[in-house]
Amino acid sequence: MATDTTHADARSGTSPRGRKPKRPFLHRPAVVAMVFLLPFLVLYVVFRVYAVGYAVVLSFQEIQGIGSSEWTGLDNYRRVLTDRTGFTALRNTMLYTVGTLLVLIPVPFVLAAILRSRWVARQSMFRSILFLPVLTSLVVVGVVFSLLLSTNGLLNGFLGLFGVPAQAWLETRHLAIPAMIIMATWRWTGINIIYFTTGLSNIPDELYESAAVDGAGPIRQFWHLSVPLSKPIILFVTVLTIFGGFQLFVEPLVLWGSGGGPGQGGLSAVVHLYRTAFTSFDLGYASAIGVVLAAIIMVFSLIVLKAFGFFAKDR
């Protein structure tokens, strides 16, 4: 029938005479997609692709002072290998990253599981309260933690209840990393709980009910259901924590300014990069540090992905 033919033609995008109707240029799907994507693409190319590319180019130059640059090949990368302060900063950063992984994965996961359980009422209220630190101004965080971690501060007062002597958290080299981990725990536990709660809510209740019927208690349900079935979200949070750990910058900055903390105990790789770029104005070497740091983060992330069997799915 004529009507059916017309509908079929319309669906197939051809005119009754077999020609495609000519759409206005601005209405073509590809053009529309491009128009909507263009602002993002322009910003991404200018502020990301170009910036990263330019940093790689700078890493092969010696730039000391304004208006001076010289190609030096791999000299900056060789310098990375002999940079004592750089190694101190890298060691601090890795210790911090490991510390945050040990705290910021299990603690929020357990808290998320508890929050999701039937024993906790007003779950959304607790989630909101735990999320508040993420929204707190960093200046405020810095001031609060300077007071909290001072020798006469609240933390020492609390530890004193258990007979632990007062510690100079911000003035002792080996306590600088724990101080930053304490601060990171306060800041990031809430957001990680949100991530884990989202992951846990995707596990069907029927599985828990079946396990309960089979006699599994809450702890066995946690170990044998919640943990394995949350593997993707645990992987996601782990990689994010590694990124955050290696990009450690704000915590030492608000606690010790641009100094490296007591005996460089709080000097992170990114603070070292920042000081090389802006205090020394050695942009070439700072760029090389940035490139090496990016490579280290990539390697660590790949190791974690491999360990979690992320690539196994592709086979």
Partner: protein
Amino acid sequence: MLAITNPDRRRFRWGAVLIAGLLVAAGCGGSGDDDSAADGGGGADGGPQDVELEFWTFVDAHTDFMQARADEFNEQSDEYNIILNASSADFEDMHDRLLVALQSGSGAPDIVDIEIQRFATFLRGDVPLHPLTDIIDNHRSELVEERTAPYRADGVEYGIDYHLGAWVMYYNSEILDAAGVDVDSIVTWDDYIAAGQQVVENTDAWMASIETTDRFSVLGPMLQNGGGTYDENNELILDSAENIEALQLISDMVHEHEIATASAGGQHHSEPYYQALNEGQYASVWMPLWYVTRFKDFMPETEGKILIRPMPEFSSDGFISTMGGGTGTAITTQIDEDKVDAAKAFLEFAKLTYDAQVALYTDLGFDPFRNDVYDDEALTAPDPWFGNEPVMTNVQAMFDRLAPEFTGPRYPEAVLQLRDVVAYQVVEEGADPAEALRRAADEIRSLD
């Protein structure tokens, strides 16, 4: 009736897009010559020419000080009417933005405050600051010459400070009295140590506090002993014999004589330290003279108790003070060429003239670096907070025994080594001062 056909509509749409694009481009384009020096008013009728100057600083009080000087300048000048757009930002943020603006070639202010620790960064490569030697020359015979050294490169001065920053010893007379120590009997460092032992034995206070996360405690005695980071020939002297002797003295005070300890909060600019000093936990502290403002602002209990004296001497013919901290005001090369003369005239008026130097004391509480103002009645008046003594007159008495500070190309890194590594290792970990300084110097030398 006006009818728009399909092709017309399409043409109209493309036309609208084109016009919108042109409007956006025009809006983004800027007006090129709008920022020229004349800035509109003044000049043409023979009156003073309006000159708009952008000024960046990281100290709020400096904006008020410079604005007040601009008002005075405009009252007196027939040639220029300065319109000062002053803005204050966080220390790191301001210096970083300045560096980026100067490197990228646009966005820098006309006049800027650069802290002494960061100044050397701007003297590498093509110096993006205008030489100020000519305006300093106009007053050189009146100035404490040593204060121009930190802002000099290859014999050219690029910055003018806000103060002399003479290093002094602040004694808590109440604690010293309780310990039976006469403050004026302390002349040498040996006297100081002996007095410290009396203080520790007879009171609950320490004689001194040493910073472990800042530079002042270690750098002051080093400079006073003729050391420091660089000499006048731009040679790094971080591991010089003078520095080692000074640092050994500090180490001995902590570990051998046990009269000094690491300062609360790690530095003399922290809340815990202000609290401890206010409560009388330390009988003395050596800091530059601008630290008087910290007593008045943060340590109310010290009112009337603090006496200011020269640093104890290493030798009878040696220095009894030096200079510490500082902020150089500079003119950037991004200023319009036709504003340079006005900016220099204003900076000379605001920083180097007699009245401006008196104002450095009356407005900011700083010790001026112009000799002749010390006889002004504003500076000779006794200060009740500091034992009712004429503090500035006593400072002037040190001028002939004042060690200069030279800042070479790696001054920022040398300071970081002192504050991050050396002070902590020596004070907290008992490291050998000579070894700690040698490692720090090696680290700095390895950068070039």
